[in-house]
């Protein structure tokens, strides 16, 4: 049944079904994401986009179907195991560690790559201290990359929403992911902030990291995605390049409504 995994496909989703009691949030979803591309998932509210993210990142276990990532079956695995395999994410409702500074938030993202032995930490061994210096430098470089270096020592909860979203992306990159799942990175942002976010997402792709993107801002979607998948009521109704999606009458009707023109 399972087809030979294609080499360049980093993420492969087959026959995915997610039901919450009687409600089927996702129906028979097939999805393949090629390495090094930006894939947008769009669709009206309630289409199942965030549910899909939660399945990929292990927050939920699918009712049926499998998710393969980089040669591993990840469906049903715990979030921290999936993170260790190379998937990182942001959240629709920003989930920063508000009890920490900006740089500390990013440093948490290095958790998978450092020693966190309880006793070594408690004894304050020199190895742990030099490791701290190293991850601090690494986190600083990442903050520089996302453009928040000057806010490194501010508390995370003191940042405006635009920067909070950017920080969340920076933290997601700290795990050295192969795939980042961005859940509405531009939601609630003004035009300048949105542009910054879009530029950052492109820069992430240029680093060779694959991006899975849920977003409502059509301008962002059309500008940066390589492929777009359209969900409606839990079903995939279309897939293709921005040009193909732009002209797809099914999408225009189901997602954008009859009266709204596509950007």
């Amino acid at each position: 049944m399972a087809s030979e995994p294609h080499r360049s496909h980093l993420l492969e989703i087959e026959d995915l079904v997610m039901a919450f009691g009687g409600l089927t949030a996702l129906m028979n979803i097939q999805l393949r994401v090629a390495k090094g591309t930006i894939r947008a998932i769009i669709g009206p509210n309630g289409a199942g986009k965030t549910t899909l993210f939660n399945l990929i990142t292990g927050v939920l276990s699918p009712t049926e179907g499998t998710i393969r990532f980089n040669g591993h079956v990840i469906s049903g695995q715990k979030p921290h195991k999936i993170a260790a395999l190379g998937i990182s994410r942001t959240f629709q409702t920003v989930e920063l560690f508000d009890n920490m500074t900006v740089i500390e938030n990013v440093m948490v993202g290095r958790h998978l790559h450092i020693s966190t032995s309880f006793f070594k930490c408690g004894l304050g061994l020199p190895a742990i201290r030099s490791q701290e210096t190293a991850i601090e430098a690494h986190a600083m470089a990442l903050l520089d990359f996302v453009g928040l270096a000057d806010k490194a020592n501010s508390m995370a909860d003191s940042l405006p929403l635009g920067e909070r979203k950017i920080l969340e992306i920076g933290r997601a990159l700290a795990t050295d992911p192969l795939l980042v799942c961005l859940d509405e990175p531009a939601a609630g942002l003004n035009e300048t902030e949105t542009e910054t976010a879009a530029r950052l997402i492109k820069a992430i792709k240029d680093k060779g990291i694959t991006v899975l993107l849920v977003e409502h801002d059509m301008k962002v979607i059309m500008n940066i995605s390589d492929q777009i998948t359209v969900l409606n009521y839990g079903e995939k109704i279309a897939e293709g390049t921005p040009e193909e999606i732009r002209g797809n009458p099914k999408v225009i009707q189901a997602y954008l409504g009859d009266s709204i023109a596509v950007v």
Binding site: V108, C121, G122, G124
Partner: protein, 317 residues
């Protein structure tokens, strides 16, 4: 970064160091070092619980059981098997760890206050064991004849000597915990406290982290129990009942659960409250504790440690 200020530590250390010397010269507080031994023993427990409650966000209502496991391990193994007391402390800690993992693993995997429920029941069960297994524990009458502690022929046979022994152990636990909080492990715990969803997305194994902290706090409680047994030379089950578990929570709430300092301040204050100032209330003592807990939760949610900051804020306005 999370920096711990050095000045309070220095003041604390000097106070602990000089306190017996001062108390000896003031008849009114001559017996205070004895109280401070108990305060230190409580401290050992609340330091671990503060890490569990304030940093990992979990509540245990059964820590008296671990306290009892340490005390009875020391009591039984020294009096009935003639083992070396220091070895007994290790055995007690190992037993407490094993029990903590067995009790903690299923309840810590769930969200919410399942640990509080599980530990509450567990504390009651363990206390029944202490009461009923009279052949080993002496039952409700307790067991005596537990030897004191000595090391290389040096015996901790006076209150002052024992005072220093206990507070050295507290200092070790304190510094270990402070270092832990400042380390990647501590950062992971604070991350879990702020957002479990984000912490696990960063690769932190939430259940495992919580179990490790729970086990660590159980070890500290067990060591405290052993120290108690060797100090009193006598133990009985009522010391390790559920009421005491709740008193431990009161100590942390009183001092402030978001810093390790809160545990220290709360424990010392509580020792004085319960042995010096509140026992005149007799059987109504528990009502006073309830009132104290209520007042602190309402008016001082950060505990006494948060008081100076609050006053400073008021003055500035």
């Amino acid at each position: 970064m999370l920096r711990i200020r050095k000045a309070p530590m220095g003041v604390g250390a000097i106070f602990i160091l000089l306190f017996p010397w001062v108390a000896e010269r003031l008849p009114a507080i001559e017996h205070y070092p004895d109280l401070m031994v108990f305060a230190g023993i409580y401290c050992l427990m609340t330091i671990g619980m503060s890490l569990l409650m304030g940093y990992a966000g979990q509540i245990s209502l059964g820590h008296a059981a671990f306290y009892g496991i340490g005390a009875y391990a020391s009591g039984i193994l020294t009096t009935q098997y003639n083992l070396n007391p220091w070895l007994c402390i290790l055995i007690g800690s190992a037993a407490a760890t094993a029990v903590a993992v067995v009790v903690g693993a299923p309840s810590l995997r769930l969200r919410g206050h399942y640990l509080a429920m599980a530990t509450l029941a567990f504390g009651i069960i363990i206390n029944i064991v202490f009461r009923e297994e009279a052949e080993w524990t002496g039952g409700p009458d307790g067991m005596g004849g537990i030897p004191g502690l000595d090391i290389f022929g040096y015996s901790f046979d006076s209150i002052h000597k024992y005072y220093y022994l206990v507070w050295i152990v507290v200092a070790i636990a304190f510094f270990f915990t402070i270092r832990l909080i400042q380390s990647p492990t501590g950062r992971a715990l604070r991350a879990i406290h702020a957002s479990e969803a984000a912490a696990s997305a960063m690769g932190i194994d939430i259940s495992r982290s919580k179990i490790v902290v729970f086990a660590f706090s159980a070890i500290l409680a067990s060591v405290a129990g052993s120290l108690y047994a060797h100090y009193m030379n006598f133990i009985n089950p009522s010391t390790f009942d559920t009421l005491f578990s709740i008193k431990l929570v009161i100590m942390i709430a009183l001092g402030g659960m978001h810093t390790i300092w809160g545990a220290v301040v709360g424990s010392v204050l509580f020792a004085f409250l319960s042995f010096e100032w509140l026992h005149q209330f007799g059987e109504y003592e528990i009502v006073v504790y309830g009132l104290v807990l209520m007042m602190v939760t309402i008016y001082l949610p950060e505990g006494l440690v948060g008081l100076p900051g609050r006053i400073a804020q008021r003055v500035r306005r």
